[in-house]
Subunit: 262 residues, 2 copies
């Protein structure tokens, strides 16, 4: 595959406007006692998730009515488009519900199936990571970079919850967990920002949907990191929901090897 | 036991000065690439933990040289005193190291063995919960209150990591986890603040030291909640490191029953 062309600044501008609009809604409902519905897949959802996705979609439709949209809360449209926006209005809904300011508004642009733009916005802390091909990754406008790591046994790893893994993936995850220096749970998407900014080394997740993992890929990759599935293949709409990301290429390779059992 | 007398405002003032001084140090080292030592018990420690505890101790020694001190990083002194300060300079060191603003500076005053004053300070978010007998619990000066909860099956529960539990406690925790609506990991002490402020219902922890759990007791109790060990007994310097706290008394009782197997 050839390297994708630099992401259009117009798309980056739209992504900022989307995150601005979504953040206003999130701040309105945070710690305000919103009621929680439990979806068929046992995941929670609130009025904030639904309102934010609706606003993000309106902004896309107004600017680029031919673009496709793949979001968590509403039906997919125009998946045959060259450009597809992938939206998670609130990643980390458990955090949002419980008043923990680590949830994120996630926005991704796929061009010809490849993630070329990713936004991770934390509206309470007012931290916005945006990574785009040709533009690097920035936190609130300042370039960020992953850090090197001397080895898997020195790695600080994030995993939202070990409950995400079952049977074979639980065994694989267990092997990896025993190989790293420290593990921290419960950060959801926020871990990708910390990885991109060089505060952590490894992020391992499972049971993800495309709107959970695709927006994180440009944030990590354009900061110099690597994000793939557990076989080392690039992440796409068709991936199996398992992600491993690292700042250091050697640590990424070592993590893949531990997951594979070697 | 008789109810303890109201906590002296002088002690509350000292606790504020301690949290102010500790927070300055925490902000200086947060996301600044501090090196991490791994202690004999496999827990991490940094220069920030050590500097903060030293400053907190200096303030106590200057104000009340007869008071006892029980802290994480230095030796215990004057444990036979009427008043003993219990200190965790950074609870959630994993969060601190990885750039997650959910760690806390924890300060407790025991009077005749009972926790009468507790501080949970998050210096990055500049959120300070302080609970004291006779003074309620306040977040940045505003009174907070726990919320009611319709039942265990409606409860939002915090547990820092399921890895804290082994063998029998793992079985007990597993029973409780299956009985609640949602579980969130990785919040450490911050969960107690969210519980006191009525954003969560239940907090279950294990493998704790007195400096981890004692400061949380006045924060929770003076907001109307309950914090005990897993048998329902009050928490003290001699507790076994297992804590269950709830905003709603019926949910606390139901959680104790699930832990006990009924």
């Amino acid at each position: 595959m050839s390297a994708p062309a630099a992401c259009s600044p117009e798309f980056i501008n739209l992504a900022h406007r989307m995150a601005d609009a979504g953040g206003e809604i999130a701040r309105k409902y945070f710690r305000a006692g919103v009621s929680v519905d439990i979806k068929d897949d046992a995941s929670p959802v609130t009025v904030a998730d639904r309102e934010i996705e609706a606003v993000l979609r309106d902004l896309i439709e107004a600017a680029y009515p031919a673009h496709g949209i793949f979001g968590e809360e509403q039906d997919t449209v125009r998946l045959d488009s060259e450009h597809i926006w992938v939206l998670d209005p609130i990643d980390g809904t458990r955090s949002f519900i419980a008043g923990v300011p680590l949830f994120g508004i996630l926005i991704c642009l796929l061009t010809n199936g490849r993630p070329v733009l990713g936004v991770l916005d934390q509206p309470i802390l007012r931290e916005r990571w945006i990574g785009a091909v040709g533009h690097g990754t920035k936190l609130n406008g300042a370039p960020v970079q992953v850090r090197s790591c001397a080895g898997l046994d020195k790695a600080m790893m994030f995993t939202t919850s070990p409950d995400m893994f079952r049977d074979e993936t639980d065994v694989q995850y267990g092997r990896l967990r025993e190989s790293v220096q420290l593990v921290r749970h419960g950060a959801d998407c926020y871990a990708a920002g910390l990885l991109a900014s060089g505060h952590a080394d490894l992020m391992v997740e499972g049971s993800m949907q495309p709107y959970d993992y695709l927006p994180l890929v440009p944030v990590i990759e354009n900061a110099g990191g690597i994000a793939t599935d557990w076989s080392g293949a690039p992440l796409s709409l068709e991936s199996d929901g398992l992600m491993v990301a690292a700042g250091d290429a050697a640590v990424h390779a070592a993590a893949l090897a531990r997951l594979a059992g070697s």
